[in-house]
Amino acid sequence: MSKSQARVKDRISALPDEILCKILSCLELQCAVRTTVLSPRWKNLWTSLPNLWFCNEDFSDDDAFMTFVDRVLFFRDSSDIKKFYLDLEEPKDDFSRIESWICTAIRRNVVELNLCVNLYPDKTFELPRSLFTCKTLEVLYLTSNFIANPPKSGCFPNLKFLDVLVHFPNHNNSSFGQIFSNCPVLEDLRIYGPLGAYDEVLDFNISAPELKILTIGLYIDDFEDEEYNFHINAPKLEVLNLPEGDSSVFSFEISAKSLVKANINLSSCRVHFDSTNGLLEAISNVKQLSLSNHYLEGGVPAFDNLNHLELSLCGFTCWRYLIEFLKRSRNLEYLDIHHCKGEHVDFTPPAFVPVCMLSHLKTITIASFEGRQDEMRVAQYLLKYSEVLNKMTIFTILGLPRAEEEALYKEFLMFERGSKTCQVEIYN
């Protein structure tokens, strides 16, 4: 085939550089680099790919992997690196090399950096200093057993998103917690991880003047009597997420007047009760609350702004807590109840109908409904006394026989309704 003939048929090379780069960016990096030999047109296309993802498990041996990373970084052109992902599973001890890669990315004005360096437990890895002072970094994911020595000032000047998965924090290095106390423009902070058995008190100092979303998913791998103190200074915090179940003693010091939404899942039986109530107190002005706690005790503070409530209840206090919340949430409009499978718990209707049911409560959803007598009584009570209710939706548990479902439906039809406009729907 003559050259001119060949060119006529080669349509893909006729596409503009941008599109070829777009195509290359959909490929795995090794594959993209391979295109360098296709023809002179393709020779240097890969060198300006802005997003680099390196995973050592794609390679049969560490040496080949490390050489590949070296080569890519070396032969790449001088355009900026936008995203740099390093996924290392128990890499060889060549940390200076890893560090040089990170430094290269930083030098190339990286915007998003994901360092997932899973080391053996007894090894640690020190983050390069330039990471903390990088002016272009906006998103950082850290998964590692690392040592951090951030500078006292000028730290993370542009970092808006920080996600840290901690393995075995090293107590010899008290500056671990300092990462969180020096983030001037941070808006979203997530801290996850299993905490090991340390007979000490761990203090987390979180100080972030612009922080809007905070997620703390720390859980204890080993049941010991640790205490974890969170001092949270985040005056603009809007959302608080505590998604993990097995928590030990959390003491929160948080001033959260700006808090709009909280999502709290403390379903371990080891929750320290005072702590929970202290927490509820601290978040009492949220508009939206999702609370999952199996053994709530104590009182419920006034939730004057609460508009949307999701409760996941268990245990013998469940209905009492439901009523407590209803009583304390004057402006509640949306109620979602998950009731975990269990035994009958007596339901005692309160002496006075909670205020929200009279004037605000419009939507009720009940999930995992079995049709037990106590559940029916609760649903009946809610239907009877909610005067502005628009809709009640019941989701029965999976596998409920059709016949039972229909019987349920019939029974609900008989219930008295406090609101003229109320509809009841039952789904499986």
Binding site: M1, K3, A6, R7, K9, D10, R11, I12, S13, A14, L15, P16, I19, K22, I23, L24, C26, L27, E28, Q30, C31, V33, R34, T35, T36, V37, L38, S39, P40, W42, K43, N44, W46, T47, A64, M66, T67, F68, D70, R71, V72, F74, F75, D94, S96, R97, S100, C103, T104
Partner: protein, 345 residues
């Protein structure tokens, strides 16, 4: 005029946009469908074109009628607001099933109309086609031109990766073999014949180099080039292996054949790095240079024989890093390792 009248008479009639493709043919399309393309949308809003046949919007050259049909099908589906994500995804998956030729045309056309979602869709589809294929297979699928120049046609060994270093080596070997033969012949035959032989090689080379066949001229070039392709460590323990050359070249060729699949990325990276052109050939008329050439060739062969991927990469990196020394070689151990000996020269 008639369209306007009709519009008044039957207000519920849809409005259409007129589009003209590069081949001159004009078609009309429902307005909401056409407006889904940013480029068309802009044309309509800014210039007011498209409302009648005479004022049809001229589409970019890359949009031919067939591919326009495809694009309009895409737009017609996606511009309907109520569709679920799942529906859209299913449509896209079916839509994208076409041969690579059409896919490339579609990408090009969608790009010229600035229809980004479609460009993304087709790019991903093209990526899926490229994924997992060897460069050979990719070239075949997309009919990429085989860009080997005439020089390479002299090559005795297969050079799948198109590596200029390998090409150089091949030439050195060809030269070497020729010289060996000539040295033997020298004992029996007149110098003239030798010259003739050499000249023919020269002729080829000068044809390539584009210079005169003058040995001096070539020599100068050679000196410069020698510096460029200077390789690493100095005194190696390789004996004079004149006799062994053929064996080595065979071993080499088998190494090449084994490495015909550029699966190791380090191999290919190095290709990217090499900038010097095919004119970089030594013309060994000077005996002293010949010796040097022998040594270097033997050294090269030895390395290639011993550990193909690692050696190649080392050698190539040496050449490269020497030239780009100022950039990037910080104090990490790996860079150091590759630069030993260079500084001594």
């Amino acid at each position: 005029m008639s369209e306007a009248v009709m519009a008044v008479v039957k207000p519920e009639m849809k409005s259409y946009i007129w589009l003209q493709t590069a081949d001159g043919s004009i078609q009309q399309v429902e307005e909401e469908v056409a407006m889904f393309c940013p480029m068309i949308c802009r044309e309509i809003l800014q210039t007011g074109m498209g409302s009648s046949k005479n004022y049809a919007i001229s589409l970019p050259q890359r949009v031919n009628p067939a591919v326009l049909g495809l694009i309009l099908d895409y737009c017609r589906f996606h511009q309907v607001p109520g569709r679920s994500n799942k529906e859209r995804k299913t449509f896209d998956e079916k839509f994208i099933r076409m041969d690579t030729k059409k896919l490339c045309e579609l990408t090009s056309a969608a790009d010229s109309l600035q229809l980004k979602p479609l460009v993304d869709l087709t790019s991903r589809a093209l990526a899926r086609i490229i994924e997992g294929k060897t460069p050979e297979e990719i070239r075949e699928t997309f009919h990429l031109p085989d860009d080997l120049t005439e020089e390479e046609k002299l090559e005795p060994l297969r050079n799948i990766t198109d590596d200029p270093r390998i090409r150089l080596l091949n030439r050195l070997y060809a030269r070497k073999r020729k010289e060996l033969k000539e040295r033997e012949k020298l004992k029996n035959v007149e110098a003239e014949e030798e010259r003739v032989d050499q000249r023919s090689v020269d002729d080829l080379l000068t044809f390539i180099n584009g210079g005169n066949g003058d040995s001096k001229g070539v020599k100068t070039n050679k000196n410069k080039k020698k510096n460029r392709r200077r390789k690493d460590p100095p005194k190696d323990s390789s004996n004079n292996v004149n006799g062994n050359h053929n064996k080595e070249s065979e071993a080499l060729s088998s190494a090449f054949h084994n490495e015909s699949r550029p699966s190791s990325s380090c191999n290919l990276q190095d290709c990217t790095a090499i900038e010097f052109d095919d004119g970089d050939v030594d013309d060994d008329l000077d005996p002293a240079m010949k010796e040097q050439l022998d040594r270097e060739v033997e050294d090269f062969a030895r390395r290639l024989n011993s550990d193909w991927p690692e050696r190649m990469q080392e050698i190539l990196s040496l050449g490269q890093e020497r030239r780009l020394a100022p950039i990037n070689i910080n104090g990490n151990g790996s860079a150091r390792r590759y630069t030993t000996g260079l500084d001594q020269r």
